[in-house]
């Protein structure tokens, strides 16, 4: 029961780190300052590296808005009336990003079906681009986890990239933006990994309200995001702008998840 209707005196924003937490806070300082100026209340950013912690905090009202990945949102919105309201839009591709299935540079595989019988590494079990979308890509080629390949859950994108680069696995699923960043920064030598297949466009992460926020206040926040022009604030999200988001934006992902669940009841994780 979050029937609280009075406007809060403070906005708490939950983020997941792509950098170390203080860096995330520092990078997002323009966004925080902008929100504080626009909303005329104090704004605080908290960073949790764990999907479960952030989304549970949102569900129980310990944070007011959070930036959630599609799968996290889908799972959590079954249990709490969350409301997505904005997502970043990128130059050229719109409001989407991609996952990739990568193989060691020397791998003989040329198509996904060549991975049959091998070990494939994935990131966090709740990660959209690190686990669910790559699994769906494989499924689309008829490869089912546990039957046609062995799932190795490594918990993080970087671990997947490292495992593939060191030829510890036949392939790995990873978020494409993260892969590109790792390559650009030289964290993973470019000659060690090769992209086997990119995924179809995935709906972007969504800014999501917790349940029970005052509607007028929600409108203020939504407008603040949609009208955000500050280049520094947007750059952190590699975005041109924030565009409106709604629940049905992630229907594609819902379908993919359902597809995986349909075939994987026995052979791998099957959420009910």
């Amino acid at each position: 029961g979050f029937a609280e209707e009075r406007p809060p005196t403070k906005l708490i924003v939950g983020l997941l780190p792509g950098e170390s937490a203080p860096t995330v806070m520092r990078l997002n300082e323009p966004l925080r300052a902008y929100l504080q100026d626009t909303l005329h209340i104090p704004v605080e950013i908290v960073v949790g590296a764990n999907y479960a912690a952030t989304s549970e905090a949102l569900r129980f009202g310990r944070i007011d808005i959070a930036y959630l990945g599609p799968v996290t949102y889908i799972l959590q919105s079954k249990r709490a009336p969350l409301e997505p309201f904005a997502r970043p839009s990128h130059a050229g591709v719109g409001s989407t990003f991609q996952a990739s299935i990568i193989v060691p540079a020397g791998s003989a595989a040329t198509k996904l079906s060549d991975l049959r019988g091998g070990e494939i590494a994935f990131g966090d079990p709740a990660s959209t681009s690190g686990t669910w979308v790559p699994r769906w890509q494989l499924l689309a080629e008829g490869l089912i986890s546990g039957r046609d390949y062995t799932m190795q859950v490594l918990g993080a994108h970087d671990a997947v990239a490292l495992a593939v680069a060191n030829r510890k696995v036949a392939a790995g699923g990873i978020s494409k933006p993260i892969l590109l960043r790792l390559l650009k920064e030289g964290k993973i030598p470019a000659d060690k990994v090769r992209v086997l297949q990119d995924s179809p466009p995935i709906p972007e992460y969504m800014w999501t309200f917790r349940a029970g926020l005052d509607p007028a206040f929600k409108a203020e926040i939504r407008n603040a995001f949609l009208n955000l022009k500050d280049a520094a604030a947007l750059a952190v999200f590699r975005a041109e702008a924030f565009v409106p988001a709604k629940d049905s934006d992630v229907d594609d992902v819902r379908r993919w998840v359902a597809d995986i669940q349909a075939v994987s009841q026995k052979t791998a994780w099957a959420p009910k």
Partner: protein, 272 residues
């Protein structure tokens, strides 16, 4: 008591007694203040934060009830993996910890320099989080229970080393002194006086650590070491609390069994 004739000596002793008593109170108050400062720095005195906390915990508990054992058939192998990881890690750790502890204990170690070096070494390997040891070993020898076992082994060396040398330092020195007076070498004193006295505590520490390692697989599961831990974290990250609670109950049963078995081994075999 009217039957006691105080002598002037009594006053001297009573003054000293009160001085010591005051010292104790002062220390207690000082320590309490330290704790209160830490608590307040952590935000523990912002009582508004506790609002809704009990209901949240209850809600989460309700979400986890009843535990869902429907997939128990799939837990056999992870359970075995966890046991194998735990046993191997603990045995490796104990085997390495014993000589280090002997070098680090004040009452047996060969020299203060070696003692301090070994202690710092033990501190150092403890300072690397188990998770990072896990990543290192996954990188070095690939996935599965083995890197987990090694990570636990190294980390356990640091921990058990400390627990062991403390247990050794606490033994009654007189039997050791007796052996020494009878021409026993340092090593013989260690084996025939310190070790036999310390053994019940060493076994306690070992069981404690074994139990810890069984549960630590929870953290390590995520980095590709598998076992029950991965199951728990996955269930938790996907908000399958009913299944997570079933897994935790399974873990509790295993842990309790280990403790009972340990107690029995101690009673039976060490009583010999």
């Amino acid at each position: 008591m009217n039957d006691i004739n105080p002598t002037p000596e009594f006053d001297v002793i009573d003054t000293e007694w009160r001085r010591r008593e005051h010292l104790k109170y002062a220390f207690t108050i000082g320590a309490a203040l330290c704790c209160a400062t830490a608590f307040s720095f952590a935000g523990g005195f912002e009582f508004s934060r506790y609002e809704g906390a009990p209901s949240t915990v209850l809600k989460l508990a309700a979400d986890s009830w009843p535990p869902d054992f429907s997939r128990w058939r799939e837990w056999g192998r992870p359970l075995l993996e966890t046991l194998a990881t735990g046993v191997t890690g603990t045995v490796l750790g104990a085997a390495l910890a014993l000589p280090f502890a002997a070098l680090a204990a004040q009452n047996i170690g060969p020299s203060p320099f070696i003692r301090q070096s070994v202690r710092i070494f033990l501190n150092a390997i403890r300072s690397l989080p188990g998770l990072i040891w896990g990543v290192i070993f996954v990188a070095a020898i690939g996935f599965g229970p083995l890197p987990g076992a090694f990570a636990l082994g190294v980390h356990s060396t640091g921990m058990l080393g400390k627990l062991f040398f403390e247990a050794m330092e606490h033994v009654d020195p007189s039997p050791g002194a007796a052996l020494k007076a009878h021409g026993a070498s340092e090593l013989a004193v260690f084996r025939f006086a310190v070790l036999p006295q310390a053994v019940p505590r060493l076994v306690d520490a070992l069981i404690y650590r074994f139990e810890h390692n069984l549960r630590a697989a929870t953290t390590l599961g995520v980095i590709g070491a598998g076992g029950l831990g991965l199951q728990i974290v996955t269930a938790f990250h996907l908000f399958e609390y009913k299944e997570a609670s079933a897994l935790i109950i399974l873990l509790l049963i295993v842990v309790t069994a280990v403790n009972l078995l340990g107690a029995r081994v101690r009673r039976r075999l060490l009583a010999l």
